[in-house]
Each structure stands twice: as C-alpha cells, then as structure tokens.
C-alpha cells in the first residue's frame, strides 16, 4: 500500500492540510492532503458524507477551504477546469448544441471557433445526431454524455467528476466507463473522479484515494497498476477481483475508524 504522497512529481494541483467547516458546524474535511499529477486518473473513494464532493468543489473554486491551501504550481487556476455534476445539469430550454456551447459563450469565444469546438465535443461523446435534441428527449445516459461534452468544450486540463454515473443503470454505467477511459487515453487530460463504488474506482483509475468519513481525510492511497486500455477482459479478470478486494478492505477499515 502506497503512503499518501502530497509531494508527487509535477502536480497539476495540490491540496495541503485543507479543512472545511460548514456554517452549521459540520466538519466536512480536516487535514486533507492530495496531489494530482498532470495526466493522471485519480478516484476519490469513500462512503457518502465523507467530504469527497466537498474536496472536489474546493478544487473547482466553488467552495472556499476554511483552512489549508489549494496550490496550482503552473500558476493561478491556470489549469482550466471542466466539471461534471452528479446530475446532468443541462439547461432544459436549450438544445444539446447550445448546452455544450455554454462555457464558450460565457467566455465570449469567437463564433466560428466555438461552433467547431461544440461539434467536436458532441461527436466525441457520440451525440452528433442529437445536437438539435432537447435534454428531456434524451435518456439518462445520453444526458450525462452531453454533460461530459460540455465539460470538454473548453478543452480543460483538469476534468472534475462528481459521481457522474451514480444514477445510471449498470449497463449504461459500464458503457460510459469504457467511453470515458477511451476519451481519457485520447485526450490525456487529468481526471479526478469522485465515486462511492469500489468496482468503478478500480476499473477506471490509476490511483485510488480512500477517504474516512466525518471529518473527511485521506485514509490511504492505492495504486492500480493494471495497464490501459482496460476493457471487459480486465473487468472479469482475477487481477481486477484482487484489486477490488484490497480496496474494499481499505474502505472497510476507513469506515470502521469512524465507528470506533
């Protein structure tokens, strides 16, 4: 088991000793350390209420840390961020193309360039035929794809995903897991993926950060050295089962620590 290593080489973002206390007095995070390398796929794994979403929102700048610091070694929030919420969070009054164009529109991007970027992002997630459809005309999985396309439209260096597939059925989730990995290998962006599913975290990530609940902090980090591309063969392999057992045990200990 690897030790927590906040001093990873060439981090795109690092959190040092971050704490978050809400107005209600709830301590969501305490002494939270995390460093994410450029191009890495990291999962934050923990039971619900362990502050993993809070950590993600702090990285995104949507929430301010009460203590500690978020550092961007390459300057400011220079790493442009894409965020995928647990719900698709699409504007119901706008078609898919307009939804995907939103970040570019808000940044006053040039018309011709943004049209091209939208077409590319929509095609990447396999929704090219549905650009003119309205969100409610699409299935849950397709809405999530549109949400991912919107996050990719600005070509962010860092993609933050907050349990994006938790509400989907298993078949759709597996398909989207595969497509996400394909996109990641193609684009080589950094991904921080919040989940409470051991199986999903092992399948997707290079490194899993297991968190303890109340207050949230890093319990341990586990590296999944299995090579990419990962596919159904990996999902059914003995290696995969072994990693899942290892991560499950760690999660069990992290949760027991809370009960004690």
């Amino acid at each position: 088991m690897a030790q927590p290593s906040p001093t990873a080489i060439n981090p795109i973002v690092s959190l040092r000793n971050v704490g978050k206390t809400f107005e209600s007095g709830t301590v969501a995070l305490r002494g939270f350390d995390l460093a994410v390398r450029d191009g890495e796929f990291v999962a934050l794994l923990g039971p619900s209420g362990c502050g993993k979403s809070t950590a993600l929102r702090i990285i995104a700048g949507l929430s301010a840390a009460s203590e500690g610091a978020v550092e961007w070694p390459e300057g400011g929030q220079g790493a442009r961020i894409g965020f995928v919420f647990q719900e698709p969070t699409l504007m119901p009054w706008a078609d898919i193309a307009a939804n995907v164009r939103l970040p570019l529109k808000l940044a006053h991007a040039e018309e011709a360039r943004s049209r091209q970027a939208v077409a590319q992002a929509v095609a990447r997630v396999g929704l090219a035929d549905f650009a003119q459809a309205y969100p409610r005309e699409l299935s849950g999985g397709m809405k999530m794809r549109a949400s991912i396309a919107r996050a990719l439209a600005t070509e962010p260096q860092l993609l933050l995903m907050d349990e994006p597939f938790a509400a989907l059925d298993e078949i759709t989730r597996f398909k989207l897991n595969n497509d996400l990995l394909t996109l990641w290998q193609e684009l080589r962006r950094t991904v921080i993926f919040v989940t409470h599913s051991v199986f999903e975290s092992v399948y997707l990530s290079q490194r899993i950060v297991v968190m303890t609940p109340r207050p949230g902090r890093v319990f341990t980090e586990i590296t999944i050295p299995a090579p990419y591309p990962r596919d159904e063969r990996f999902r059914t392999s003995a290696d995969y089962a072994g990693f899942c057992r290892l991560v499950s045990e760690a999660l069990g200990k992290a949760t027991a620590e809370d009960a004690a």
Binding site: F85, M91, L102
Partner: protein
Amino acid sequence: MSERALRIALPILVLALVIAAWHLVVRVFAIPVYVLPGPGLVLATLISDGALLMNSLWVTLTITFEGFLLAAAGGIALAIAFNQWRVFEYSFYPYAVILQVTPVVAIAPLLLIYLPQPLAVLACAWIVAFFPVLANTTLGLNSVDHNLLALFELYKASRWQVLWNLKLPSALPQMLAGLRIAGGLSLIGAVVAEIAAGSAGAGSGLAYRIAESGYRLNIPRMFAALLLLSLAGVAIFFALSALSHLALRRWHESELRRER
C-alpha cells in the same frame, strides 16, 4: 369518443342546455323583459346595438391591453430589480404587497380624483395586474437549479450573463403563468375603474355601458355587454395560453403530453 372530442363537445352541450332552460323559464313564467330578457332578445340586442357595443368593447380592450403591457413590463422589471438588489427588494416588496391586498374598488374613486379619467382607469388595470407578474417572476428567478448556478460560477459568468442566460429562461414558465393571471386581472381592473367612473357620468367602455343600461332599465343591453366582456376575458385567456404553449412546448413539463 376520444377525450379531446369530449372536452370540446361536453361544454357546448352544457351551454346549449343552459340556454334552452333560460329560454323556457322566461317563456313559461312570462318574465318581463326588464327583469330577465330571454337569450333570443339578448342576441337581437347584441346585433341591433352592435356598433355602440363594439365601440365600447374596443375602448375597454384598449385599456385592458395597455394595463396588461404596463403590468407585464413593470412586474418583470421590478422582479429583476428585486432579484439583483436585495436592499431594493427589502425596501419595496412590502409596499407591492400592500398595493395588491388593498381592494382596487376602494382605490378607484381616489385615483379618479387625482388623475384624468383614462389614466385612472389604466392605473387600476395596472395595479391589479402587475402583482401576479411580479410574484411569479420573482419565484421563478429564485428557483434556479443550484448546480446550474455553480456551473455559471465555475465559468466565471458575469451577473448579467447569469441573469440573461440562466435566470430569465429558467423563470419563463412562472413568468408566463403570472402573465396569464395578469391578462384576466387587467380586464377586471379596467371594468372596476370604469364602473367607479361611470357613476361620475363620463366614459364609454363596456362596463360603463352596463352601468348606464342599468340606470335606464335596458336589461337586454346589460346582458349583451356582459356577454361581450365575458367573451373578451375568454379570448385573453386563450391568447396568453397559446403564447405560453408556444414558448414552452419543447422543454417544460407543463406543456408536454404525458406518455402512457
């Protein structure tokens, strides 16, 4: 019969029965015209007094329409101002409520003292109609999806971008519901003010015709004018419903047929 056909046929059947009963009651009990004219006589009066009544209808509709437009513009503008500047909302919202809960019948005679009559009538139409627009639009502007707000914040949207691209479109269903109520209310406001003014002896709108015909015991004309007012109200309601349908049919639940 299909549900749609029933929805049209049944009200027409009820109307036919009521008219037949009305006719019979007047005939059988030989009710004098100055107490209750039969439906045939009302229709005949509508035709014989057509020019006069149409003229009055036009006057009333013009006031109603102007009152409605001012109420729509004022209600929406005020709601936006309330939403953008909290201090403004705290300062003025109570007075908007007071203006609304004070019966307009009681305000009309006062307004007639201080304002020239057409302006007083218009002011009454505005007072009763603007509040539902204000209240509904305010509710809509405050019910924006929190994740969408976070998304706009993530992309560093200016407050005007948030207002224009997020809050206003997302408030559209409530805003249209407010306008639909305001349409009927501005007719009521105009009628109340005309009746109040009518006793002072000037005016030419439909409500004034009703008051005037009452003094002259011209009961058939009262009924004819009432019929026109009622039809005008129905027309306003349908026009605004059609507008709402056109604006929302692609995306809002209220305008979508449920699949079974």
